[in-house]
Amino acid sequence: MIEVDIAKNFGNFSLDLSLHLQKDFTVLFGPSGSGKSVALQTIAGWMQPDSGTIRVNGLVYFDKKTGVNLPINRRHIGYVLQEPSLFPHMTLFENIAYGASGLPSGERKRKVLQIIERMRLKGLENHFPSQISGGQKQRGALARALVASPLLFLLDEPFASLDNPVREKLRLDLLRIIKEDNIPIIFVTHDVDEAFVLAEEMVVLNEGRVEQRGSKEDIFYRPQTHNAAKFFGAKNIFRGKITEIHSEEGKMTVGVERKAFKAVMPYRPGTVVGEWITFCIRPEEIMILKEGKPIKANLQRNVFTGEIVRIVERGAEHTLFFKQGEDDYDFEISLSNLAYRSLHLQEGDRVSVAFKWESIWLIPQKK
């Protein structure tokens, strides 16, 4: 159990953080400058908050009121940074052994060799950091942190400067090791895919504050704020005014601000005609209808006809920009390459698009 309630003012930036983490693997997600790294540094004691408390498994690390500020070397934290931080003047073995001091030398050696084996670093023991690859350096840094048997792991974008195949391999290694050792982890990233692969619990940070927390599904499909929706690629985020409510049919119609369309969505009890709401539809939830085929019942409520203005190829998928009104575009649509190829689309084509009304997510209004 990790409880962090802290504030720190940097003049042009302030951090006001409240984290209460139960799960073993928490991803701290947010754009650059959202305060993710600073959050980790205060937990590790590298930086001191202006006020508040930090507790890990009931152990007080910091408490402004009682004046407790546990020294860094007594916090038992495993910290791995984005930039390789192995000691350049020590071999890989010496680096890892540096994390295992305090043990009798025989046991220490055995433990270090065991970690080297587990982190697949065998044969590199006598190499200096300058002689091994970026991925091996990060494995070494993980091994060095792990051998100290920390209470908590803080990983600050540890794989961000590695190339893709190495990164994926390291992620899997990390997940395996967590299962084996059962050490709670706070993992910082600004990579949506990475966040989704790793997180049990996710915390979205923005401008030094918690934007939303929850399971990854919660944040991905049920963002609680406009920013959370934006960070996780909801793309189609609209503000609109409720124009009709048919509560007996359980539906309502929303006229979208500055757009020439209306969307029909499930009635949200408590809302009234004339109220402004914000909603989003993920780009992969919008379908392109094939001509001549009957439209499925659950798609019929929201069908729009217009033009494909732009097609962008993005590796495994294509992004289409669709407009029906005067605006640059109204919807961003994401298609798998397979679906894209079967449709034979070109920029300028006129098509009809539709989405299920369950795909619409109403972002709760801020109080």
Binding site: A44, G45, N73, Y98, G99, A145
Partner: protein, 221 residues
């Protein structure tokens, strides 16, 4: 004649060696605090300790008399309790060399310690090691070359110290006449052959020191 040259050489080496040991111990500690700690008056401390680098040696010597003389700020107490005064002893030559050469050690060592990646230092703490162990296992090895360069420069400077030494240790043949002072005496009394030997020796030794120091400080960058 030969005997007094050897005495001066031995005295110069002795003074420079003792001053350098003190400079390494005190200079490294002070440089560590200046590089890694934040405290009020930090830059003032740096400026005060660096002043002898730019002040005329006579001014530095004057301050030392004011501090350590029989009626000096500190010297008065020492004299009162022990009846001993440092002025006009070879210890005074050590004191002068120490004060004048210390800034060279401070500057190079502070820069070398500041150039150590702070993340590495914090990682060492995070791995459970205290400040002392982190200093010896991480900071020292990574700033070693700068420190060695600073040590050599300080030694060379301490060997060559003249002005402040003359003021606080005087020119007592067979007691406080270090080589630079002996050269001055030889020249002013027209003993050119003696002066020549010492000047050539001094130039060669100092040149060698500078060469070693510059090779080492290049490597730290």
């Amino acid at each position: 004649m030969e005997g007094s040259v050897f005495f001066s050489l031995r005295l110069s080496l002795q003074v420079a060696a003792v001053a350098t040991v003190l400079i390494v111990l005190i200079g490294t500690s002070v440089a560590y605090f200046l590089a890694r700690k934040d405290f009020r008056g930090k830059e003032l401390v740096d400026i005060l300790l660096t002043l002898p680098l730019v002040l005329p040696p006579t001014v530095t010597g004057y301050y030392l008399i004011w501090l350590a003389g029989r009626n000096g700020l500190v010297g008065e107490y020492i004299f009162h309790w022990t009846g001993w005064n440092i002025l006009f002893t070879w210890y005074a030559a050590v004191l002068a060399s120490f004060v004048v050469a210390l800034p060279l050690m401070l500057k190079t060592t502070r820069a070398a310690i500041e150039s150590v990646d702070p993340n590495l230092v914090n990682i060492s703490y995070t791995l459970g090691h205290g400040e002392l162990k982190t200093f010896f296992k991480v900071i020292l090895p990574l700033s070693k070359k700068g420190m060695v360069a600073g040590t050599i420069l300080s030694f060379a400077r301490a060997m060559g110290e003249f002005g402040a030494t003359l003021m606080v240790a005087g020119n007592i043949p067979g007691r406080t006449d270090t080589m630079p002072i002996a050269i001055y005496t030889s020249v002013s009394s027209g003993d050119w052959s003696k002066a020549n030997i010492m000047v050539i020796f001094f130039t060669l030794v100092s040149g060698a020191f500078l060469y070693i120091a510059s090779r080492l400080s290049k490597k730290i960058i």
